[in-house]
Amino acid sequence: MFSNILIYFVVIPLLMLAGIALCRNIRQIRAVAVVGSVALIALSVYLLVEYLGLRAAGETAPMLYTGSWQWFGPLNINLAVGVDGISIAMLLLSSIIVFAGSFASWTIAQPKEFFLWLILLSTGVFGFFISIDLFTMFMFYEVALIPMYLLIGVWGSGNKNYSAMKLTLMLMGGSAFLMLGLIGIYYHSAPEGGTLTWNILEIAENASIDRGWQYFLFPMTFVGFGVLGAMFPFHTWSPDGHASAPTAVSMLHAGVLMKLGGYGCFRVAIFLMPEAANELAWIFLILTGISVVYGAFSACVQTDLKYINAYSSVSHCGLVLFAILMLNTTAMTGAIMQMLSHGLMTALFFALIGMIYGRTHTRDIRQMGGLMRIMPYLAVCYVIAGMASLGLPGLSGFVAEMTIFVGSFEQGMTDYLAGAGSLRLVFTIIACCSIVITAVYILRVVGKLLFGPVQDKHHLELTDATWWERLSTATLIICVAGIGCFPNFFNNLINFTFSPEIFKVLGLN
């Protein structure tokens, strides 16, 4: 078991948990958090290099490093692991954000408990991304969700009890759908008379779920994961939740946890039930298409920095689900790139908002102004994050959005010319409009918050970023720029999974 490298993505966080439990002061906790997250980054980079090496050597299995250990025999539940380029990208993203998040919570109150819950949450996240067994996947999913309640309820701000409750209940509601869907998949996982299985690869191989059931199970799983992916109209936990959450939790939540939704939609709903996905896509295309512009329009009038970002996340994550539903190689690659890009830049945004809030004690943009002069480092980072968000070439947002638009447009035109309706085409053009609306709300905030005259005389005494804040933000900025400058690397990494041999859905069209 321990010869499989993937297991260490769960082992390291567990060791960190044990380490933190033994720590006596904040210095030791910081040390454990930093060492652990560096180890995780190192591990994911190592995995990436190894993986690329194997692929270059001609390895064509859909998932590598697969392994399976029995957990509960009677129901055939296993701890089954395996990764492809997409999971590796997600692991890399998660480890970077855990690293940046640790630095962003350098001076948190009650550090021991905070870090315990935070690391538990990341254990769930890592476990989710390496699992290919639906049951363990779901278990890790829940492990990632529950600590959120305490993290927001205890360390949050504002109307935190309400927000924590709302977020948890809504996501639990999603889980209920999801559970139903997963059990349904399990009971249809084997062709006549075979052993039932939770293993994603086996189910995909058997392609056994009959169409009638797919029409029921696909919406169940898609909505279940879609709630976490902030799909309209199940997104309202996001603004309140983010507004109340402490910095690192917002970073992890928007940066990684919301990606669980998109990843799950793709890995479970679409990968296992391609026929239903193809035929029911239109319902969710409409919903996600609405998310994209709706979130952007809502963000235009918000005055709380975190609300602006939460709505912007609704818009950007809507684009992820939107692109996945295109069932087109290019668009789906774009969706994964958008997950990476959104993860990094939203984490950056929330980190910066936390740092600004920690100084000014307000998140209301009407009460702030001219911060560029007071805290130039943070302000410049904010401008860069904003530019990434509105899709400036050279930063990650641009490549992700363009890949999505090119792929979606291609699919839309193909559908249209084949007489299959103009829904995809129309919604692609609507989604394209979001690039203008995004520019509006980003520049509105930047203009109000960073430029212009200083609003509050007390702000003049504030200081710029400390070294740990600089480290946290610089890491994220380097990653955002890295994706933006060398997109083809990530493109190739992700693309493999969508090759027709593996991803049979595409053959449908």
């Binding site: 530019m387 641009f398 291609e410 010319l417 053009i429 430029f451």
Partner: protein, 669 residues
Amino acid sequence: MDITIPLLILAIPLFMFIFLGLLGGKMTHKLAGTLGTLGMGVTLVLAYMTAFTYFFSGSADFITEAGDRLQYLVFNHTWLAFTKSLVIKLGFILDPISAMMLVVITTISFMVHLYSLGYMRDHHGVYERGFQRFYAFLSLFSFSMLGLVVATNIFQMYIFWELVGASSYLLIGFYYTKPSAVSASKKAFIVTRFADLGFLIGILILSYYTGTFDFTQLTSVPVEGLNDVYRVSTETADSIRNIFQNSAAPVFLGGSVLTWALVLIFMGGMGKSAMLPLHIWLPDAMEGPTPVSALIHAATMVVAGVYLVARLFPLYLMEECALEIITVVGALTAFYAAMVACTQIDIKRVLAFSTISQIAFMMVSLGVARPEIHEGLGYMASMFHLFTHAMFKALLFLGAGALIHAIGSNDYTAMHGLRKYMPVTHWTFLIGCLAIAGIIPFSGFFSKDEILSACAGYDWLAYAWMSMVAGLTAFYMFRLYYLIFWWKEHKIPEGHHAPHDQPWTMSLPLIILAAVSCVAGFIPFGKLVSWNGEPYDFMAHFDWSVAGVSLTVAVLAILLATVMYRKENSLPEKFRQAVPALWRWCFHRFYWDELYMFITHKIIFNGVCRPIAWFDRHIIDGTMDSFAAITNKASELIRPLQSGQIQYYVWVYLIGALLLGVITALCLI
């Protein structure tokens, strides 16, 4: 051709941006400025070398034996591969227009770098705050603009198109504590972003049908026997048109899909080049430092739209309709902007509207260019005017900058009579005015005259219309000139020293640009640039009747301006009172800004965003909350059942038992 030099042309400005951006704060102002200027100087030399090699080396990669100029891909690397054929590449194309643009951009950029060493200081020699940042942004802009003009494919162009937009945003908002500068920068970005949406959709349509982004595959054919060498031709465009016609693509709102793609791409150009009705950002962009206005908003970035159309010209030739749209938009814009320029009082706004008007000239010129009319004179004229305009407009802006620097105000009612105090500025500005007015032998005469010839060959109405605009140009420029340099000078308040000419770093660029404006007209431009690369002798198409008419119009307009504005008199006031409504509409720029304000604020912000936000909080979220409330209410309702009182439980038990007994009894009966 060796790729080192072209690579360095792009790499040096990029490096300077990163270097000054990261470390600028750690160095002295002087060092940062000098380094930035030196970097640009090296880029200038390299760009000149490249252009010289391209035009004059006679290598088989660049020119055929018959003298036709070719397109050469210096390098072209995959950056992002969407599918096997749809690939974004980053590359470097050398052809007549890109080589010409390299020269224009590096020249103006270097002049501006040099000029800013003097301009971005106050009278006591103290550098402006953010001086290093200014140079970093200038380098970023130069990099983006150079990347734009050497783009080998339309997506690379889009990438750099966005980057120039962003650097323009940063530079317009350079004085970020000034609210007007902040809102101007925001406006510029959002308006051009809106136009880019059209550009993007146009690219998507075009690439869907043609399966490529590459210019060489859209507009050219490969030259046999040579690698990476192409010849501009309508053959490819023709086959592309066939793709569109043969596919099941329907006619959409009266236009073919190709027309729509080209018009949408042109929309991107309208945004960047400030064509009606997307022009509203350019006058406001004057909030940026004046050297920036000279570089970005007069000479280089704003002509990107013209460059884009020129780049795709063989495709546009296939769609008469798209070219007609370009002509009409250009003609309306040229007239509109010239009218407005006659009434403005801010010196930079006058120049901004004049820029809009002159770019519209280039657009019209492309719109009327046809291979059968004077062998495509319009195309060559447009590029020629782009070149000469870049020089004299940069000159005028830098001159205006010198005035503003000396006076401390943009308002020319605060200037008057400056010719005595600032002779260098005066003479160079006068040369700029003569050039833009089209007086022989200054450069504007030649390029504008060719545009008018092309119009004359196309349609008499276009010719008459554009000649009228040329007259207006001469009029408003000399109005400006007289109001600044003539009239009676203001009294200099006690304790203030008289305005004076600027340091050499500012004068030198003025003098160089003035010299170029004097002689640029004699460049045999047709030999270097033409739509299909064939050398072109424009003297064969030079028409003295057209030239004579335009010269007469210009001279008359200057005379009129002289009568009205040389000395303070009541004529302008009388004129204003004779046509009050017209004057008011011109002065308020035909209320375009107010219209946009109304649409964006009243309709979109209050009519769309706010209701959506309200709907989200009250309807969607309200529903979610009411689920919770219903659950709460339901549990409140059944809670009394679990009151904990034993007597109550007994009661319920007894009643329940009784009821069950009755039901059982009833069933048994």
